[in-house]
Symmetry: C2
Subunit: 214 residues, 2 copies
Amino acid sequence: MNQRPIQGTVYGVILNDAASVQALGDLNAAPYKGAPKAPVLYIKPANTWAASGAVVGLPRGAPSAEVAATVGLVLGRPAARVPVADALACVRGLVLAADLSLPHASYYRPAIREKCWDSSLVLGAMQPLVDVAGLTLVTEVNGQPVDSRSLADLLRPPAQLLAEVSQWMTLQAGDVLLVGVRYQAPQAPAGSRLRISTSGLGSVEFTLAAGGQA
Amino acid sequence: MNQRPIQGTVYGVILNDAASVQALGDLNAAPYKGAPKAPVLYIKPANTWAASGAVVGLPRGAPSAEVAATVGLVLGRPAARVPVADALACVRGLVLAADLSLPHASYYRPAIREKCWDSSLVLGAMQPLVDVAGLTLVTEVNGQPVDSRSLADLLRPPAQLLAEVSQWMTLQAGDVLLVGVRYQAPQAPAGSRLRISTSGLGSVEFTLAAGGQA
């Protein structure tokens, strides 16, 4: 997929909701030595972008994927060192996203292999910006709801997240900042039909296919 | 910088030389539990790209940066699941690169903050592809050589690295794959003039400036 207006870099963030921080357990133990003091980001490069309706091939040898429902902020103008109060003025709209990973036990290495395989980010069409705290994302596997996630418990809501990230990294128009995935999102095996929906942002649908990739 | 032909995603790899693996110590201990079986990648997104001659502002509060000299493979055609023997046919040329990071003690979290600040990848002009095993990269700080690094000891030479990465990730024309940075590259404080050079690939030069970024 390379349809405008998404055309730059897509950034995601982990540990941005209270439930995930709690689920991960004792962040004060080694090696973390405390909860993250800054947004913990990852990148989903262009090879991962897929549109709703995609058939997503799992990497070879991977029986299933973790499917995290989230929402992305689509930048409409550059954001560099913006204060919280001005951050949302840089956002042009929202996209619903299914952010796929291979299950991996730790964050001990950069998880590019687990997070950046082809078509592992299924993106919906851009929608007008709304307050994400009012959104609930429902994930269905083969027509059955398996997960429901409210975005009301983000530790860094969109304006704060964007403001903090923009302190050390300039985001450009067309870049996307995903507001956060749940730790241990639902898993689905090859052959599953997936659907993520939320009122107001529509839905994304895709099929997981057995792996042709290594 | 957005000058063609680099226009996609820039990927880097750590632990791709024998000296770095040795310097990092016992990779069989927890949490690593063994040397990496696949290339350990990171991403340098477009906000990091700078051209030779740049003034690179350090993030606020950072007194110095680690300056890793490396070389990037510039893709000239898509690479998806290519065998080693065909990998270099996807490469259009090489770029000399100064890959800047903030010193960080561990790889325990995705190091986006430490690796992806604005202008933290200074790239030279594209040069024809040569065998990188014959290249030695010299780093100078304020006119004094501080480091000399041969690319003869890459654990995965360019063809093998590109072939392995392309097994799970499609690289596009315009993408760049850096062949690897040394663990614990030289550090330089704000105010330093840096130069990285190698015969045949020219040089990149830049100045480190005290931090205006958070």
